[in-house]
């Protein structure tokens, strides 16, 4: 019987097949979305190739443009990671939206109360405050899920709603600026609490002006965080247990893994990641927390996570893609008559196609491997 096995054709290792399948799915989904997009664009009397070229050009023609793309991508990387790590355990963290705004409020509170400290102390504390605030916000649905079984999709959405009101109150009352009377916002944060602009630090601010582009060190940090998350997921015991729980909770439990404990741990980590989402906005761009803070980053993170296949390698790429689409919206607004909502629709179609394409390809791959190995194994 052993010799039988030796004469069978070699089968490629798992992960190569997997990667190829993902790329095929992605290509197919892109083609499909691009096609639908082209149809819509033509219906508006514009030229689809021009539209796509404009989107591409607006994100890549000058270093400044690409820097804006990366700036857009930064919060989405953190947001996508937050959604993805929870998803690996089989949990849906739709509450990144609420978690990050609570994180921003916590960061603002820290920046304003500890304003005397030097940067080397203040900035890390502010970041920790953001992560902690968001983590606490995520703890509520996590604990409720484990202790009562309350589905985290409903509880996180409710927490989002509560967060909006809570942060609104914080901005209007305890954190409110005494100085400005017309804007609804906090004081400016001390300079020692701000994250340095990447271009300025690298000395290239003449090419990439820091008044227009707010690409900060949070971007390279985001990439480091991606690697850290990968390591945690695939090389540590926690990640192992998270994946086991997400894939086969019964077997994990029989292997001594505490399902509830693991779920809470990973949801807290997800919350902590969510806390980083809003930092580029308030510590790299505005320098204060205003009641017109940037919204929607939590939901975009979900799209980025799916597009990136919930993997720390795919997420930054997906985030950059989204960053490019966001930048391209500006270009379309200037250069065409198209309503910018077209791009939003296209994003939606793209996400849908990607999700369907991944499913189809995964199933086809599973069938093929079954057939191959059915012939090889006894």
């Amino acid at each position: 019987m052993a010799t039988e096995a030796a004469t069978q054709p070699r089968i490629r290792p798992e992960w190569i097949d997997f990667l190829v399948a993902q790329l095929i799915a992605l290509a197919g989904a892109f083609a499909f979305a691009a096609l639908i997009g082209a149809v819509i664009v033509i219906a508006y009397g514009e030229d689809p190739l021009f539209v796509y070229r404009t989107v591409w050009a607006f994100g890549t023609s000058r270093p400044q443009d690409f820097a804006i793309v990366l700036e857009n991508a930064t919060p989405l990387i953190y947001s996508g990671l937050a959604v993805a790590v929870a998803f690996k355990a089989g949990l849906f963290n739709i509450g990144v939206e609420g978690q990050y705004i609570v994180g921003m409020a916590a960061a603002a509170a820290a920046a304003l109360t500890l304003s005397g400290l030097p940067t080397v102390l203040l900035l890390p504390l502010v970041i920790v405050a953001a992560m902690t605030g968001a983590m606490l916000w995520a703890a509520v649905p996590a604990v409720l899920k484990v202790k009562t079984g309350a589905h985290e999709v409903v509880t996180t959405i409710m927490m989002n709603g509560i967060a909006v009101s809570l942060v609104a109150w914080l901005i209007l009352h305890p954190l409110r600026s005494d100085v400005t009377t017309t804007d609804l916002r906090t004081e400016d944060f001390p300079a020692s609490a701000l994250v340095p602009n990447l271009a300025t630090s690298l000395g290239i601010e003449d090419v990439i002006p820091d008044s227009i582009v707010h690409l900060t060190w949070l971007f390279p940090i985001a990439l480091v965080v991606c690697v850290t998350v990968w390591f945690m997921m695939f090389r540590t015991r926690l990640g192992y247990e998270v994946r086991a729980v997400g894939s086969s909770p019964g077997s994990a439990e029989a292997g001594g893994v505490s399902i509830g404990g693991t779920q809470i741990k990973i949801f807290l980590i997800s919350g902590a990641l969510a806390g980083l989402v809003g930092l580029n906005h308030i510590l790299g761009d505005t320098g204060y927390l205003g009641s017109n803070y940037e919204t929607g980053l939590g939901f975009s993170g979900i799209a980025v996570a799916f597009l990136g296949r919930n993997h720390p390698a795919g997420i930054p790429l997906a985030a950059i893609l989204f960053g490019m689409l966001l930048r391209g919206q500006d270009g379309l607004a200037i250069l065409t008559e198209l309503p910018i909502e077209i791009l939003i629709i296209l994003q939606g179609i793209l996400i849908l196609s990607v999700v369907v394409a991944y499913e189809l390809v995964s199933r086809a791959l599973a069938r093929r491997r079954q057939a191959q190995l059915g012939q090889a194994a006894s």
């Binding site: 009562t148 409903v154 509560i162 109150w169 629709i345 994003q347 499913e359």
Partner: protein, 312 residues
């Protein structure tokens, strides 16, 4: 607190009940056929924008119809993804919600010239006063004055819904698709049309509810007006153990909760809270409700699981 405030709160609460109940009832049909539908919010959103358009163009009844139709068509995307392509139900639902926001902006720009809202003041329904009840003393009668006829329609949907579920062949088969599709399929029942139907019903009712929201409560389309009501409907459905009458009770609870920040700001205890905290009340009530009751409910046995077999 004058009871007339309570009456006003109940009246508004009944309108929110209508939204939550209709959406929840639609969700009931979807989930009992085996398709988990957390995209109800997105279907409602589509109903708001298309409902507003239909009303401006042709009047409130047409608005309800266009809202429902739009919700139904949009829901077919969810059906296609989950039933035919077997995408994870929650993933699809989340994507539906994300897409809906973009779609609504697009349509709003198209129809109203603005991305995030229509002009206020779209025509609404003539209101009715319930005889007898609207003359209740101490201001409680307020609860039954100026009621939208759609509220009554919502209540009246209960009997037909129960009848279809329990006394028709369609209802029996639909429920079997959600409990044990393998069993049903082994007897020659085709699963996919039942699930498509379940999702379509949920889309139509959620769209109807969305249109109602735009027409009768807000008087316009505005981005974000659904405020999580689709998820609250889900919570009501869970609380109601996927049964119409209990869903109604949950929807009443949550509907009144919605009205608290809007009509009962001066009530004792509540008036002590800052305004922003009052706005949190409906969400907090929802969380407490489902955290407290979830252990005792039983979803349809096969909900959320893709049906892998031949469709006969």
């Amino acid at each position: 607190m004058p009871l007339i405030d309570l009456g006003a709160a109940i009246a508004l609460g009944l309108r929110y009940f209508t939204i939550i109940y209709l959406t929840g009832l639609g969700g009931l049909f979807s989930e009992r056929s085996g398709i988990v539908n957390i995209g109800l919010e997105g279907m409602m959103v589509v109903g708001t924008v298309m409902g507003a358009w239909g009303t401006i163009a042709y009047g409130p009844v047409a608005g309800l119809v266009t809202g429902a139709a739009a919700g139904l068509l949009f829901s077919l995307v969810h059906a296609l993804a989950t039933v035919t392509f077997k995408v994870d139900h929650i993933v699809s639902g989340v994507v539906i919600n994300v897409v809906a926001i973009g779609l609504a902006r697009f349509l709003s720009q198209l129809f109203f010239g603005q991305a995030t809202q229509s002009d206020p003041g779209i025509p609404d329904f003539a209101t009715i006063n319930i005889p007898l009840l609207s003359s209740l003393p101490l201001g409680l009668g307020q609860a039954f004055k100026g009621m939208s006829p759609v509220v009554l329609v919502a209540f009246l949907m209960t009997m037909p819904a129960l009848f279809v579920l329990n006394r028709t062949r369609f209802g029996l088969r639909l429920r079997s698709a959600g409990e044990n599709p393998e069993a049903a399929s082994s007897l020659g029942v085709r699963i996919w049309p039942l699930r498509y139907a379940g999702v379509a019903i949920s889309g139509a009712l959620a769209g109807l509810a969305g249109a109602f929201l735009a027409i009768e409560i807000n008087g316009l389309f505005r981005e974000g007006q659904t405020q999580g009501l689709g998820f609250i409907a889900l919570a009501a459905l869970i609380l109601g153990n996927w049964q119409p009458l209990r869903l109604m009770a949950g929807a009443l609870l949550f509907g009144i909760a919605q009205a608290i920040p809007l009509r009962l700001q001066d009530a004792p205890v509540i008036s002590l809270l800052p305004e922003e905290f009052i706005r949190m009340i409906p969400y907090v009530i929802t969380i407490i409700a489902i955290a407290g009751f979830v252990g005792r409910v039983q979803p349809p046995a096969a909900a959320g699981r893709a049906y892998e077999g031949a469709a006969t």
